[in-house]
């Protein structure tokens, strides 16, 4: 009985420690993911994808 409780407490403590570790990892800036996100936004703002599409479809209206 006591043994099971000790084990449960041990598990909970390990879990808490791991959660804390995860939070610590996440404070680092994910540079590669940010670059990808920036490229997706730049594509849209500068309509870089659209230009390629309109080359394929010359009739595509550009406002």
């Amino acid at each position: 009985m006591t043994n099971a409780m000790t084990r449960t407490i041990c598990l909970m403590l390990t879990g808490a420690a791991l959660s804390a570790a995860c939070v610590t990892i996440n404070i680092y800036f994910p540079a590669a993911a940010a670059e990808k996100a920036a490229d997706r936004i730049i594509d849209e703002v500068w309509q870089l994808k659209k230009e390629q599409d309109s080359k394929a479809q010359p009739e595509g209206s550009q406002q």
Binding site: G15, L18, C22, I25, A33, A34, D39, E44, V45
Partner: protein
């Protein structure tokens, strides 16, 4: 049984960590709104990038680097466009940082964007690096 529980717990945590590191959230209403405002403005700004009147700054902003390249009658309008664009860009960088739960990432996001805007600029546009302007 305990080993199994522990493995499931570890697996879930690993997945969460991997997800958090592999993605930057950009699909929020605030970000979409800024994006479409910038997209609409781009058609007006593009000729000024091409003429060299407006360049892409090293700080993630756009800069009116040669006002003389703009006809006098349009000069004020272009100044306005540049100011509005920089307001939107500042909001964009701030919103991305906030959407990801890390407002302190704003400066990192700005410098990432600064590099990417310059990297993806069309040839003939002016870009800034180390305080110097050059034509791409």
């Amino acid at each position: 049984m305990n080993t199994l529980k522990r493995m499931v717990l570890l697996g879930a945590m690993w997945a969460t960590t991997a997800w958090a590191q592999g993605n930057i959230e950009i699909n929020t209403p605030a970000i979409s709104q800024i994006k479409s405002s910038m997209q609409a403005r781009h058609t007006q700004l593009a000729p000024h990038y091409a003429s060299g009147a407006v360049g892409l700054g090293a700080d993630g902003n756009v800069v009116l680097r040669d006002a003389n390249a703009v006809p006098l009658a349009q000069r004020q309008a272009v100044q306005g466009l540049v100011a509005q664009e920089n307001t939107d860009r500042a909001a964009l960088y701030r919103e991305i940082a906030r959407a990801n739960g890390h407002p302190e990432w704003e400066a990192d996001i700005r410098s990432t964007f600064a590099q990417r805007w310059i990297e993806r600029a069309q040839s003939g546009w002016y870009i800034q690096s180390g305080g110097q302007w050059s034509r791409k």
